[in-house]
Symmetry: none
Subunit: 236 residues, 2 copies
């Protein structure tokens, strides 16, 4: 008799214990599954916003079983050694995802990590910094192709050295920025056309000293401001 967790982990019932305190985990009990470390925890012993216990990464009081957890059929990855540096773990913020049904689909999964070059890295960060020359390429493409196809993204990945995922996210964020800007400009124009003063943004435009004013081009971070929308059609 086994417990099956997720899709990959199978435990003997007697091995289904918290990776920290070793307490047996009952059916129906809320637990946290670390699918990479192949460890489960009770709710008292997973590290939410706190330092890992000293015992980590070595689980204690856990029934030793060479085959637990076992991997069903297709063993995807070799077992990941429990090697987290304290630095890695401090940045290892468990994100609870409680869905609207309240059935505790919390915990975390593979998405909290990403695999790269055979070793696992932290999920959030290290944030990739897109350098200026790479940014130039992306911006140049964006002006003509705001929604590049997968193939186009692949070519961009080759050209810039960035991963396709990074490029995809960049274009998404860039389009989002474009939309925000356009909304702002529509908003401003709405007042302008009625001879009104757009209240919040222009409350004080006295040529004040003190601060070197932020230029518009800085505001939109290098984008030439040509995407101003005007939607005067009442109903399309």
């Amino acid at each position: 008799m086994v417990y099956k967790l997720g899709t990959d982990l199978i435990y003997h019932v007697t091995c289904h214990c918290c990776g920290h305190c070793g307490r047996g985990l009952a059916p129906g009990e809320q637990i946290v599954v670390d699918e990479h470390a192949k460890v489960v925890f009770c709710m008292s012993h997973y590290y939410q916003d706190s330092a890992p216990p000293e015992s980590y990464p070595q689980p204690i009081s856990v029934p030793i079983c060479d085959s637990c957890p076992s991997l069903p059929s297709t063993s995807v990855q070799p077992s990941i050694p429990l090697t987290f540096t304290p630095e890695q773990f401090s940045e290892f913020h468990i994100k609870k995802e409680i869905d609207s049904l309240g059935y505790g689909f919390d915990g975390y999964s593979f998405s909290d990590f990403c695999e790269e070059d055979g070793k696992f890295l932290k999920r959030r960060g290290p944030r990739t910094t897109i350098k200026q020359n790479q940014l130039d390429v992306l911006n140049r493409i964006f002006t003509t192709t705001p929604k590049p196809s997968k193939h186009a993204r692949a070519k961009l990945a080759l050209e810039t050295g960035l991963s396709m995922r990074v490029i995809q996210v960049w274009f998404q964020n860039r389009r989002s920025k474009e939309r925000r800007l356009k909304h702002l400009c529509n908003y401003l124009r709405h007042f302008e056309q009625r001879g009104l003063v757009p209240p919040p943004l222009f409350a004080n435009h006295s040529g004040g000293e003190g601060q070197p004013e932020m230029t518009f081009s800085q505001f939109i971070s290098g984008m030439d401001a040509s995407q101003f929308d005007e939607d005067s059609a009442d109903d399309q």
Copy 2:
């Protein structure tokens, strides 16, 4: 006399024609603007569910005018001040208030086509944003008629202003969602009645890089919960 479209396209009235069939486009008529190809289309001739006509991107039967569409460029810019103080800059994040004013920023602002190797390819979309009032209508009908006939969809298209294809897809997706939720409820009830572990944490093999990771809804949609359907009578 001109028509102004989207960001920076200005057409003579006589040049404001569908880029495919050349039909003159009336004010208030629903159209598609491809800002990057500088072409507009009537709703019958943008490439939804079909390959683009061979003539693309060369418009046919369109009145030749060297200056259409023209770019207003400088005539638009001055309405936007080119400098922000940092305080004003922070005011940029008033997006919700702007949106709550209810000014329609919808429409096909972006090009929904991609350029690749010099020729335009059809992308998904243009993704329609179904507005709340349209959504209300659709949901109201769905409660009584989850599978509307073609005629019913036609009436809905008239009522909402959406195309029949969009409505058809919406009802398909809506029924799919209904099934997923029903399966999920049966699945959860299965455990609930036994006091078992409700949360099967979903694994996430981020196989190919660049591929979006599995989301919760994808997990739900991908799981096979129909085996639990027998556990409870259909009380929906």
